[in-house]
Amino acid sequence: MTIETKVDELLLHRQEELENAKSAGKKVVGYFPGGYVPEELIYAAGAIPICLSHGGDARTADEALSIMPHVICPFARAQVGEMMLKTNPFYTAVDLVVVPSTCQHMKKIGDFWEYYEGPKVFKLGVPYEHDKDFEVQYFRDRLVALKERLETLTGNTVTDDRLAEAIVVYDRLRSLLKALSLTRRGAGRAIGALDFVRLNHASLYADPVVMADTLEAVLEGLPEAAPGRPRVLLTGPNLVLGDYDVLALADEVGAEVVIEEIFEGVRDYWQTIDQTGDPLDALVRGYLIEKRPAAFMRGSTSKRLEFIRSLIEGFEVQGVLWYQLLCCEFYDEEGSYIETALRDDGIPVLVVESDYHSLDSGQMKTRLAAFVETMAGGPVDA
């Protein structure tokens, strides 16, 4: 069974699980991606956490154009499109939606869902800095408010023990994703980029214990890594479930994407949550302070550049593919700076922009092929 089939089955099964759970009175809590919403809280409340992160489909994004203009990024429009269409069972199943106040586009998702769907939205404030006590306290207070909201919704109390157990469950998931990702570091058995990303995306929807078991099985059965293809780092603001054109195209022209550095849509697995001490404080540290900052956070640029450079070295990357959603203005800014810095390092960079309309154009393929040739020093047999 291919990983794609395995993932499709997991997601289908998850839909059935959601229906059954709801019939049994369990609550489904959706949250938007970016890695700032502690799903452990949702899990500990006895609700089912689902990261609402479908994208890549221009029709869904364009559906929102009647109420949300084209200057909002296609991912944000797709979330509003899903709200309008009400055809996606994951989106229609939610009893509460948690929206992290990260970038303006995410905030618009929250505002629009709130405006049209009413009080089933909880906005989680994410301070842009965390070196001052009042900022950390604010985030903690909002997590407490979220906890209380979840308790009211589910009728369950989120105890420290339940929260600590949830952290263990999700830490296992993060550790397995990291182990899988690291197989791409050198020669030997390795997972392909599209397969890894599909599994990562599935982890945002599936039951975390089932998902972890699936990852363990995948780890045991990895194929040999395909040698000789130019090694690429994929970075950018957003890569969500369904948005696979860029990876497919990269593979088609002979590039091997060996590592991703993405803000939204790819579960962050680089660190685990501290399992000692007060679990709520541990979540604050893990989700705000110790987390590698996304571009909307103040002072993130140099830290992200440093991390990208470490990935380039650690994964023997030969080129960087910057996947930019149109109208993501602050990643656009940061991207220009990082692109210049990497070029100065002698690393080829290609910026590919998308508004979810198909990337599979001749022009794009030609650009990517040229990029691969630059890295390989000549034509490559894809």
């Binding site: 106040s101 405006y115 404030g125 301070p127 109208c327 700076y337």
Partner: protein, 464 residues
């Protein structure tokens, strides 16, 4: 030059005293005698220069530009740059009045008025920014942040020792300052709030304003670390007290505009309001600004009593969503020519009256008072913004709405369609959506705009 300075409200003595300084400033800004001749024509074309109050306001704006250019020459060695930072001008006043070797500049709006509105030479500043990391076009990055990068890159403002901005409604502005630090080595300090207001909490924004107050206080600490100057609470209280006099004068001016038919002067002057509003004044400067508004309001009221105005009596009244164009007076000039009276803009709508104290948790914290501007409609969640705008339209009895869809501002542009539809549905009045960049004169297309204005005017159906 003396004749030109008279257009800025300088009397003979002051013009002679300031002439050398202004010439030096113009020289540093690359403004020639030819530019001055062209500027005279522009001022007489687009602005009501016969009003002494208008000349005085232009004088205040010009003096701020001169003070900015000459900041270090005047002995203020440490320079703090602020932009998109409502409220920080209060801290600026505290600095300017209590310290002679530190200065705060908030140059964007005054430079837009002078280099854009008066001289028509704003595009090179934006183009300079587009040679750096900001992209051309109205959608990618807003003209306000391009202005900041362009002014610094071209050396038209002193290279600051510290930049400050807020992230109240925008990630682009803080990111620009962060990259200015990376590229130019200018340290950056941010004042933030956490924009997670829920509609169910409306109009309560204390969570937000308290955070902003703490962030401002932390920023004062940053100023002290960089400049060695400590802003005390007493200084901020004094600046707030002085500022109140200017706020009252400006409120009188806004009332005159709202309550007059016809509007007593052209809407091209409206962008000057924001330029004057954001200057970090000394005590002397505030008094001058209050005087300018007082003189202006007296003149406008006198015009009102005579029935004199920029549009015919009974002209349709519109609310402007998002402010007026800051570098190009042609937009507002053409609107008035087509018989449309712009009477207010949406930032004036507040969820809580800031002076009521209702939004304050700690009345002993001056920064909480400063943060009360966050009750403005602009920073509200969508549902609250719709409510406030509808209420403002009803109170003003407007016949239509200009929606200045500033594409580079995702915060404002993101709401545009919903707000427009709500206005049309609830109030039955037309909305003219104008896609533009508030700060970029290149977004003007005369034929297209004229056609839209004529159609909009006919939809409002006033028999003028």
């Amino acid at each position: 030059m003396l004749e030109f300075l008279a257009m800025f409200g300088f009397d003979d003595d002051e013009a002679r005293a300031q002439e050398a300084r202004v010439r030096e400033v113009f020289n540093r800004l690359g403004l020639t005698d030819e530019d001055i001749q062209r500027a005279k024509v522009r001022m007489n074309t687009y602005y009501d220069m016969e009003l002494r109050g208008v000349r005085k306001l232009f004088g205040i704006i010009l003096k701020d530009v001169c003070n900015t250019v000459m900041m270090r020459d005047d002995g203020r060695e440490k320079v703090i740059h602020v932009c998109m930072s409502p409220g920080l001008n209060i801290m600026g006043s505290a600095i300017m009045d209590n310290c002679s070797d530190v200065g705060m500049i908030c140059p964007n709006m005054t430079y837009m008025s002078i280099l854009g509105g008066v001289f028509g030479k704003y595009t090179p500043i934006l183009e300079a920014a587009e040679k750096e990391w900001l992209k051309s076009g109205a959608v990618a990055h807003c003209g306000m942040v391009k202005s900041r990068v362009g002014l610094i890159g071209l050396g038209l403002i002193p290279k600051p020792d510290l930049t400050m901005t807020t992230g109240y409604a925008c990630e682009t502005s803080p990111k620009v300052n962060e990259l200015l630090e990376e590229v130019y080595g200018i340290p950056a300090c941010y004042v933030d709030t956490c924009p997670d207001r829920e509609l169910s909490e409306y109009p309560d924004s204390r969570r937000i304003t308290v955070f902003a107050a703490k962030s401002m206080r932390a920023a004062a600490g940053c100023i002290e670390r960089v400049t060695g100057f400590r802003i005390t609470d007493d200084m901020v209280w004094k600046a707030l007290k002085l500022r109140k006099t200017l706020d009252e004068a400006m409120e009188r001016y806004r009332r005159v505009m709202r309550e007059s038919d016809p509007i007593p002067f052209r809407s091209t002057h409206l962008s000057m309001w924001m330029a004057v509003d954001l200057i970090p004044y000394t005590e002397e400067g505030i008094a001058e600004a209050v005087d300018a508004f007082t003189v202006l309001c007296d003149e406008l009221e006198e015009r009102r009593s005579r029935g004199v105005g920029a549009t015919p009596k009974g002209a349709p009244r519109v609310l402007s969503m998002f402010p007026y164009h800051h570098t190009d007076p042609r937009w507002e000039a053409l609107a008035n020519e087509k018989g449309i009276a712009i009477v207010a803009f949406d930032f004036e709508a507040m969820a809580i009256d800031p002076s009521s104290g209702a939004g304050i948790v700690d009345p002993n914290d001056p920064y909480e008072v400063v943060a009360q501007h966050l009750h403005s409609s602009f920073t509200q969640p969508l549902g609250a913004r719709v409510r406030l705008v509808l209420d403002l339209c009803r109170r003003l009895g407007v016949d239509g709405v200009f929606y200045h869809n500033h594409l580079g501002c995702r915060y404002a542009a993101g709401d545009a369609l919903v707000v427009r539809d709500a206005i049309i549905k609830e109030l039955g009045i037309p909305v003219l959506m104008l896609e533009w960049d508030n700060f970029d004169p290149r977004s003007y297309n005369h034929q297209q705009y004229e056609a839209k204005l004529e159609t909009f005017r006919s939809m409002m159906g006033a028999g003028v």
